[in-house]
């Protein structure tokens, strides 16, 4: 997408980004080499994965985990590590 680049005087002080649209456009899921796979049957809905995920990539509906947002999940594996029920497993990303 062609965007006009801003000059230095138009940028927010300290590079603090409050316009999160730009963040949404940047699909960091493409960086992933390991993919978390969530198992609904093992999940106890403790939401620890949601608390710990640094990229807000745990999808929630009505207060429950319903899956993983692969557009933004970078595959760090923190969710799999923190899950007490081993309901998330990391698998090699297929090309």
């Amino acid at each position: 997408m062609a965007r006009k680049l801003k000059g230095w005087q138009e940028l927010p002080c300290g590079a603090i980004i409050s316009d999160l649209q730009a963040v949404k456009e940047n699909k960091t899921g493409a960086w992933r080499s390991l993919r978390p796979v969530w198992n609904n049957e093992k999940c106890r809905q403790c939401l620890l994965c949601w608390i710990y995920c640094p990229d807000s990539a745990i999808l929630i509906q009505d207060g429950k985990v319903v899956g993983i947002d692969y557009d933004y999940c970078k595959g760090c594996g923190i969710c799999a590590g923190i899950c007490p029920a081993k309901a998330i497993e990391m698998e090699k990303e297929k090309k």
């Binding site: 230095w8 940028l11 300290g14």
Partner: protein, 384 residues
Amino acid sequence: MILAKTGNEALAYAMKQINPDVVAAYPITPSTEIVQLFSNYVADGEVDTEFVPVESEHSAMTACIGAAACGRRVMTATASQGLALMHEMLFIAAGLRLPIVMAVASRSLSSPLNIHGDHSDSVASRDSGWLQFFCETVQEGYDTLIMAVKIAERAYLPAIVAIDGFILSHCQERIETLEDRAVREFLGQPKPNYNLLDWRNPILVGPATLQDYYFEFKRSEIEGMRRALPVIEEVQQEFGQRFGRYYPVLEEYRCEDAEAVLVVMGSACGTCRVAVDQLRAEGRKVGLVKLRVFRPLVHNLLRTSLAKFPKIGVMDRVDAVNSYGGPLFTEITSVLYDLPERPKVFSYVYGLGGREFSPEDARMVYEQVLSGKKDELVTYVGVR
């Protein structure tokens, strides 16, 4: 109130009166007492501060950055190796434009190991984007720490307030303190533009910027430092008007018609004042230029001031190990380069590792600068 306090006690007392929201720190000589005494105030319930004892200085600065990104008033203290260990995070604090205020009891850097005072630590952090103040006395350290909070918050830049290790940090002086209420009224409440923990208004702190944007963000940070001097002057004047103690960014002491001046930062200014008084009594035309603000480099003030004097000695309490001159010397000669008639400028490195710098040493330097003759590029004062 008039009290006898060491530099560390005075800075801890100032911190108590500032009552920061968060202090995260790790002890290191000679700055340990600042935070140790402050932690007593925390334990005694005299401050509202969230005190975070961390496992290293790197973590201390990291915790300070996190707390400051939540719009809180944040302070810490360190020295020497501790400041060196923070080095990575210093740049991040400045790049994020977080007004963290740090007391530094200046100390040499290893190796060899030495715990005593010189300016190696702060000066090595000169390119990190922090404001830097060097204080001559305990009183100036106390006053400057309070002013630095206001300056940092107005300029959106972090600030180091340095007192010379042991010479100021551990020596008692008579100081005049302010009332707690007067300090709080002078500082007011911080007015942050955002709060990282405000989940209703989410923000991104510390984005990745690539070839397309990094340069523009740095340019913006550079502008922040360029605009810092008027903020410093404004706050120092406010402080002076309110409390009767005013510290100019650059002070000329007995410089009228001076043939030779020394440019000095920190406690050695007091030593040089004694030497100047003695030499003036003997009819010698010498003066002292005290540089209180090292960052931003006050190039216009320095140029205007120093252009008046035919001979200048620049005193560095640190060596840049560049096979040339001291860090302040190289900056001052560069500041004077555009003058149509440039003064003679000599480089002196003194007091490394707490080596005594006496009025007699200062006299010797003045005599040499007055003579206008110096064989070596850099003179290492008092080195055997």
